[in-house]
């Protein structure tokens, strides 16, 4: 077993372990932290696959953005230290069963599937390539989705402002 393999299994354990903890712990703050670890694990996996750019984006956006946002919102909505209310046991069991079955089913399909794939490896996930393609309009360019996403972000921004920043007169 090479070092890369060991790294892989560690990352896998980190992703799944902290993922499970994140959805089971009854402390909301801890849940956010476990989520953070899980996301970092995913970023590590990207690194492991040598997709450094995307790993960086993952770290920046998720770890630096979304998780922080979530933690802030926890502060805004939650009294600190309060334990999360527990879900009904039946529901928990059912959800676990359903999730496991779904997982088993999908894994079954995946394992039985022989992926074809291509042998050519022409595209290098380098920052230059990514940058060129991201704003390119020619073959392999992603200018249009880029614009669409920007509009979406604009809309989201406006929506957030309207919803979250509401007038004092309305809040009683």
């Amino acid at each position: 077993m090479s070092g890369a393999d060991i790294l892989f299994y560690m990352l896998a354990a980190m992703i799944l372990g902290s993922g499970i903890l994140s959805v089971t712990t009854r402390h909301i703050f801890r849940a956010a932290i476990f989520l953070l670890f899980s996301l970092i694990g995913v970023a590590g996996m990207y690194f492991w696959m040598q997709y450094e750019f995307i790993a960086a984006v993952q770290i920046v956006v998720y770890v630096g953005g979304i998780t922080v946002l979530i933690i802030f919102s926890i502060f805004l909505t939650q009294q600190a230290g309060e334990k999360l209310p527990e879900q009904k046991m039946g529901r928990q069991l059912f959800a676990a069963l359903a999730a496991f079955c779904g997982f088993a089913f999908i894994m079954l399909q995946i394992l039985r599937h022989s992926f074809i794939g291509t042998t050519k490896t022409t595209a290098e996930p380098s920052v230059v390539n990514i940058g060129n393609q991201m704003l390119g309009v020619e073959q392999g360019g992603y200018a249009l989705p880029f614009e669409v996403v920007s509009i979406l972000l604009l809309a989201a921004l406006i929506g957030c402002i309207v919803i979250a920043v509401r007038n004092k007169t309305q809040t009683t």
Partner: protein, 644 residues
């Protein structure tokens, strides 16, 4: 050939009278309505006599045979080629005779009603109904097409309904008119099906063609009609029997007679016209009309006619002996006399001497119309005077009502078959025909004619003799000229009509039939009649207790006869208990609960299901997601393993 315009005019005048009185009588010509109608009918009567005269003496007889002429025909409704309802005129001896009888009696009733119905609120309506009836009856007798006869048959029925229900505020009248209509309607059902059968096999509805096809043994129609059978009886016999059922209903033959006594709820002149002289003989007329088919092709059916007629004659006579309502006595007597006519036809054969019954029947129809109308009108005069129908309220009226008394007596003698009154001649011929062909019926007839004499004179004595009458309230008198004139005229007819050489004009095959007068044959019936009269004289001339004694000694029979042999009750049982409770009520229940219930249940169960599944939409977003994933997985599984 006769001029059809006249015949049509005979028809149209009463119709015009009906329309005129019906539409405007109530408001514009209220008081004059009677006179106008009567005048119109007078014209029609004259025309009828003219036509009859013309037919019998000028153009009807060709080479010694009276022809069946069709001076007019109009296709009213064509079903298919050859099968159509035609409105036409079939002129033959019985038509000519019936034209005269109907218009004459109707005219008498019109005149009589001028006095009798005077002051009625719905005077014009009454005359319009009379017009309608006369029109329908005339249409019936001239019909050249079996469906035409059915049409007017129904119209006659409805005018009878209207006239019986004339006093519509009296519940008994309402019940009576409904009963009359429904019972005859039931019989008409038979008639209708009979028509359907006949028309199917004959391929025509036209009388002449139909008779011709169904009587000639070589014709295809005849062969198929005889060949096809149902329940072992040939289709043709079925058809004729069913047609006769219609006739029996209208003619109040046993057991379809139950409507006739109740029909006396109508005004008395109406009873005279419809329920004595004209409409009730329609059945006889119908059988006579189809007589060749009966006689030549379906002798079995004719036997049924004979026995039904004889039974009715006897039963009606027995019942008549016990009734106390004078109109009901007359009603049963009518039924009995029609029974005579019926079995006379039933025992007859077609053609020549053998056809005596036919002639006799028609002759009796003719004379009976005269004396029975007279009896009813006389009874009307009595009722007018006494204000009651019950014999027990009467007695000793001969002093108060002399003319009525005299004419009534003549009529009684006529109906009892006392020579030389009209009834004697016709009845004698009937008995002779029965004697020649069917002894059983002859004996029944003989007994019945004795009973006839008895109950008629029971009636006569109870009204005019018996006890003394003490008029209370103001004295009406006999009702004036309008009422007396028809009585007298009819009395003359009843006395003299017997001398008409009827067989010369009316016979089964159109050839003249000279019936001989057998003196020795007449002895028995006349003697029996006299015995009947004498018995009545002894029992009812003076008020005494003998009738009651006899009645109580014959307890069961008397009671049964008094209750008309419980036939009404039987009918009531069938209709109320069986049809209403066992068919109608379940049908209504079934409709309300099962059929309707199913519809409602569909709606309700939808609602229920909708209520049951509401938990699906629990309002909890997590459950939504669970359903989502479940759906996705199910689709995936199905997609992969099932639908691929």
């Amino acid at each position: 050939m006769p001029n059809p315009t006249y015949i049509i005019l005979i028809l149209l005048l009463p119709l015009a009278s009906f329309l005129l009185m019906g539409l405007f009588g109530r408001s514009y010509i209220k008081n004059a309505s009677g006179l106008i109608s009567t005048a119109m009918l007078f014209v029609a009567t004259c025309l009828a006599f003219y036509v009859a005269y013309g037919y019998f003496f000028e153009y009807g007889n060709v080479n010694g045979v009276y022809q069946k002429l069709i001076p007019f025909k109009y296709t009213w409704l064509e079903f298919s080629k050859g099968v159509s309802i035609d409105m036409g005129i079939l002129l033959d001896p019985i038509t000519a005779m019936m034209l005269v009888v109907v218009t004459l009696i109707s005219l008498m009733v019109h005149i009589y009603s001028l006095g009798y119905m005077k002051g009625e609120e719905r005077f014009a309506t009454y005359y319009s109904f009379l017009g309608l009836f006369t029109f329908s009856m005339l249409g019936l007798v001239i019909a050249s097409n079996i469906f035409q006869i059915y049409i007017f048959w129904e119209l006659v029925g409805v005018s009878s309904f209207l006239l019986i229900g004339y006093y519509f505020e009296k519940p008994s009248a309402v019940a009576a008119c409904k009963k009359a209509f429904i019972v005859t309607r039931f019989a008409d059902l038979g008639f209708l099906i009979g028509i359907l059968i006949l028309s199917f096999y004959a391929g025509t509805l036209d009388f002449n063609t139909l008779i011709q096809r169904l009587t000639s043994p070589e014709s295809m129609e005849f062969k198929t009609a005889v060949a096809s059978s149902f329940l072992g009886i040939s289709a043709l016999t079925w058809g004729m029997v069913l047609v006769f059922v219609g006739g029996a209903g209208k003619s109040a033959m046993f057991p379809l007679h139950i409507w006739l006594p109740d029909a006396m709820e109508g005004p008395t002149p109406v009873s005279a016209l419809i329920h004595a002289a004209t409409m009730v003989v329609a059945g006889v007329f119908l059988v006579a009309r189809l007589f060749p088919v009966f006689a030549l092709s379906t002798p079995d059916a004719l036997h049924i006619v004979a026995y039904v007629g004889a039974t009715s004659a006897l039963i009606a006579a027995i019942i008549a002996c016990t009734q106390t309502d004078i109109k009901r006595v007359l009603a049963f007597s009518t039924m009995s006399q029609i029974g005579f006519m019926m079995f006379a036809l039933g025992v007859s054969k077609y053609g020549g001497e053998e056809g005596l019954g036919y002639t006799a029947s028609m002759f009796h129809l003719f004379t009976h119309a005269l004396f029975k109308a007279l009896l009813f009108l006389g009874a009307g005069a009595v009722i007018h005077f006494v204000h009651s129908n019950d014999m027990n309220d009467m007695g000793g009226l001969r002093k108060h009502l002399p003319i009525t008394h005299a004419t009534f007596l003549i009529a009684c003698l006529a109906i009892s078959g006392v020579p030389p009154f009209a009834g004697f001649f016709s009845k004698e011929e009937i008995l002779l025909a029965a004697f020649q062909h069917n002894p059983t019926i002859y004996w029944i007839a003989l007994l019945t004619s004795g009973l006839t004499a008895f109950y008629m004179f029971r009636l006569y004595f109870s009204i005019f003799w018996n006890k003394e009458y003490h008029p209370h309230g103001e004295h009406h008198g006999e009702g004036g000229f309008a009422m007396m004139m028809p009585l007298v005229l009819l009395a003359v007819g009843a006395a003299a009509a017997g001398f008409i050489p009827f067989g010369k004009f009316v016979s089964s095959d159109g050839k003249a039939l000279i019936s001989e007068f057998h003196l020795q044959f007449s002895i028995a019936p006349v003697a029996l009649g006299l015995v009947g009269i004498l018995t009545a004289l002894l029992l009812y001339k003076k008020q005494n207790s003998k009738p009651d004694t006899i009645a109580s000694s014959l307890n069961a029979l008397y009671k049964a006869a008094y209750h008309k042999f419980y036939i009404d009750e039987l009918y009531l049982f069938i209709t109320k208990k069986i049809l209403f409770n066992l068919v109608g009520r379940p049908a209504a229940w079934f409709d309300k609960n099962v059929v309707d219930g199913m519809v409602n249940a569909t709606g309700n169960s939808t609602q229920t299901i909708s209520e049951k599944i509401k938990g699906f939409q629990s309002g909890k977003v997590q459950e939504y997601a669970i359903y989502f994933l479940a759906g996705a997985t199910a689709l995936a599984v199905c997609g992969i393993y099932l639908w691929k």
